[in-house]
Amino acid sequence: MENIILEMRSITKTFPGVKALDSVNLKVRDGEIHALVGENGAGKSTLMKVLSGVYPHGSYEGDILFNDETVAFSGIPDSEEKGIIIIHQELALVPLLSIAENLFLGNENVEAGVIDWPKTYSRTLGLLEKVGLKESPSTLVGQLGVGKQQLVEIAKALAKDVKLLILDEPTAALQENDSAKLLDLLLEFKAQGISSILITHKLNEISRVADSITVIRDGASVSTLDCRAQSISEEDIIRDMVGRDMAHRYPVRKNPTKEGHLGKTLMEVSNWNVWHPEAVDRQIIHDIAFNVHAGEIVGIAGLMGSGRTELAMSLFGQSYGKNIQGEVRLRGEIADLSTVPKAIKSGLAYVTEDRKELGLILEETIQTNTTLANLDRVSSSGVIDENIERQVSEDYRKALNIRTPSVFQKVMNLSGGNQQKVVLSKWLYSQPDVLILDEPTRGIDVGAKFEIYSIINELADDGKGVVMISSEMPELLGMCDRIYVMNEGRFVGELDKANASQEKIMSMIVKA
């Protein structure tokens, strides 16, 4: 009988209106590497937040046993006290402090309130050696690359006498060789008796290091696979990850595009390359080419961080990235999309992923937001005709069924679904040929989703081209005529409606 270091028993966590976790079980053996996999939004991070005490004891149901004793954490300090350390996807380092200062942040080596620097530096050197990072303790963290920062995070965990290390997609932002180094480090820790939980999407990593796998789907643990007892194929994991039945319903298109009966090509992108705006040597988008026809809904599938939003924003007036290269043809002609006004004028619209941050002026009314991208159309020589403006926004309110007493309502008072409809109104009023919709149904309830889907279908029926970016694969499968699969800044596959399935998309991503 092996020792179980951590057992989470039927954990249920409810947010207002949503059951994020539904009696999830997780068992981690002492000294193993346990992989936790699942789609975006499946509940992995929520589970880890329950474990680390971000969601304190009492805010969830179920028990957590650590080294055979029931624990009740009320915050991160409690879990760290026991030796459970979580390293988040977004690194929690202070870039303007040195490595040594970061390692002992909140955990300083103090003598009567005064920091003992010699001790700090010597301990830092020891920890850096353990993680194999050859840097001076006084180097500022901001000067390190992402891979090295990750190592600093791990060293920080070691400084706290870690027993169970949790890594949330540690290799998502890393290059191939940095990832390999990191995985080797995990294996080394395992030899020293430190257990780890590895959250990842990359199946090749799992087959390389994991001893067992827990698959989470829709907030429930689906299966636990023991890699040591049996051989697990990637297909098995993929099936468990996505194998839900199509519970959602999608509105039926009136004139679906049939094979070989596509409209004319509206948009054609070729050789699209984009570099990171700050780290100029990091290429974010690699040689992407795609096209959109009139009346077609084209999906872009890919996990978070695969570069979908960056692609969309770089196309839309170069709102993201540096050193952008490539060619875009709209209706067959080369289009100048170098600024947002030019992109709008060329007939492109981009509905942003984050509607509150990037899409809406929350303090303003529906009317103001609706006309914002095309104020010239409601004004003559710079003077706005408020009557026309009111009529326009009123029309969209009715057409899109925005539930509000009047268009004078401030958009911050609207629900997520209605806010999204306001964003759509704004972009419809700019009269685009091609709309790029980035996560158009994120954070919206099921009923409003259906309405948004219907609007998207109508757009396609009207002969517009729609590019739909989404993390929810069923949504893409239900809506799109064609799906491009994106991973790490590249298109790794293209599937038409007849051939697309979640398994195929997932395997294209994980095998890329």
Partner: protein, 399 residues
């Protein structure tokens, strides 16, 4: 959710009190101004509203109000301009050197000074808009630079007096075309015209709003409000007419208030400035040239600061190295008292004007009462804080 929505859809005629409660943010400061004026009128035994003092009140505050209009745009755009006092002082000095030392005609001095102000504002705006240097820092630097340049230009001394033509900028009055003199009939006529224009515009917009079924202001409230505004304007113009009539400055101010109210309410530029202040990223992704707008906002501020500087110099009839000192603080305070939001995107021209008048009436009233400058500062500071707290409180209640 649904029940709440339907209950608001049904537009039963709301009572005056409930309407006033829900629009406390809009009328709160106007009511405060009236109360403060009433209080000082009482405390000073009627001195406050005497025609002489009323004329002085306008002259004393004109430059603050003119700059507050520009500052409103800057603050709505999500920035701040700390340099306006120094710029006003510098332009006053420049005007003095040009007209006193070099005997240049006023007709040349005024436009040159306005253009210089525009360029100064533009230069500061350039760094803020295109280099993304925080406005606080750029204009703090500008504040020091132009304070220093004022001293340099005046060689540390006061320069004056100005020629008669220049003094008219501040001390001139609209002559009585009817030849009566006192009471000044022109002033009365203009007052009545202004009052009727305001009532006419209000009635027109109300009837339009009614046509679209979006009016929630009770009719009685509408009548009372507009009657009060009209009476107040006519009464003020009557008071002024018994002294020397309407000051030129008052006309300049009225025109500026009207123009900038129109600009902020009804033009694409105004709308885009609000959008930029409300959410700069969303504005940019909606195709708004946020950099150019920020630049223009600061250039405009520079020009208005220059105009204020000219009026201030004309009023003192001399340019002093200390002119405009700490004026930016009064201007910024006026804008915030008037309900603008520190984070940008919210604020009205008329609010900033009311804010400036609240400060002005308090300055004037407390001076008449003989309250020392020490306690004046304390009271003004507390009023600023109270106004902003009132605003935040109303905002929270509205949510």
């Amino acid at each position: 959710m649904t029940t709440k929505e339907t209950s608001t859809v049904v537009q039963s005629a709301p009572s005056v009190t409930s309407y006033l409660k829900s629009h406390m943010r809009d009328y709160g400061m106007l009511i405060a101004l009236v109360v403060i004026m009433g209080m000082f009128q009482f405390l000073t035994d009627g001195t406050l509203m005497r025609p002489v003092n009323l004329t002085n009140l306008f002259l004393q505050n004109s430059y603050i109000i003119i700059m507050a209009i520009g500052m409103l745009l800057v603050i709505v755009a999500g920035h701040i301009d700390l340099s306006v006092g120094s710029v006003a002082g510098f332009i006053g000095a420049l005007a003095a050197v040009m007209s006193v030392n070099y005997d240049l005609p006023t007709i040349l001095v005024v436009p040159v000074c306005l253009v210089v102000g525009l360029i100064i504002g533009g230069l500061q705006g350039y760094w803020i808009a295109y280099w993304k240097i925080p406005a606080f820092i750029v204009t703090l630097a500008g504040m020091l630079v132009f304070r220093g340049l004022t001293l340099a230009l005046l060689e540390g001394q006061s320069v004056g007096p100005f020629p008669k033509s220049f003094q008219l900028l501040s001390t001139g009055f609209i002559p009585d075309v009817f030849g009566v003199g006192r009471p000044n009939v022109t002033a009365l006529v203009l007052g009545v015209l202004a009052a009727s224009a305001i009532v006419f515009l209000a009635a027109r917009s109300r009837s339009r709003a009614l046509k679209y079924g979006i009016q929630d202001e009770p009719f009685s409230f509408f009548i009372v409000k507009n009657a009060l505004v009209a009476i107040a304007i006519i009464y003020l113009s009557y008071l002024l007419s018994t002294y020397r009539g309407l000051p030129n400055v008052l006309m300049t101010m009225a025109v500026l208030i009207a123009v900038y109210t129109f600009l902020t309410n009804s033009t694409t530029i105004g709308r885009r400035i609000y959008a930029l202040g409300g959410n700069v990223k969303a504005a940019k992704l909606s195709g708004i040239n946020t950099e150019r707008l920020t630049f223009l906002t600061f250039a405009n501020m520079g020009m208005l600061a220059a105009l204020a500087g000219l009026i201030f110099a004309a009023r003192l009839n001399t340019a002093t190295p200390k002119a405009g000192f700490a004026m930016e603080l009064d201007v910024i305070a006026a804008v915030f008292i008037g309900g603008a939001s520190m984070t940008g995107g919210v604020g009205k021209v008329i609010g900033a004007v009311i804010g400036a008048f609240i400060m002005g009436v308090m300055n004037n009233g407390m001076s008449i009462l003989g309250i020392g400058i020490d306690w004046q500062q304390v009271i003004k500071g507390l009023v600023l804080l109270a106004a902003v707290i009132f605003d935040v409180y109303n905002k929270q209640k509205a949510r």
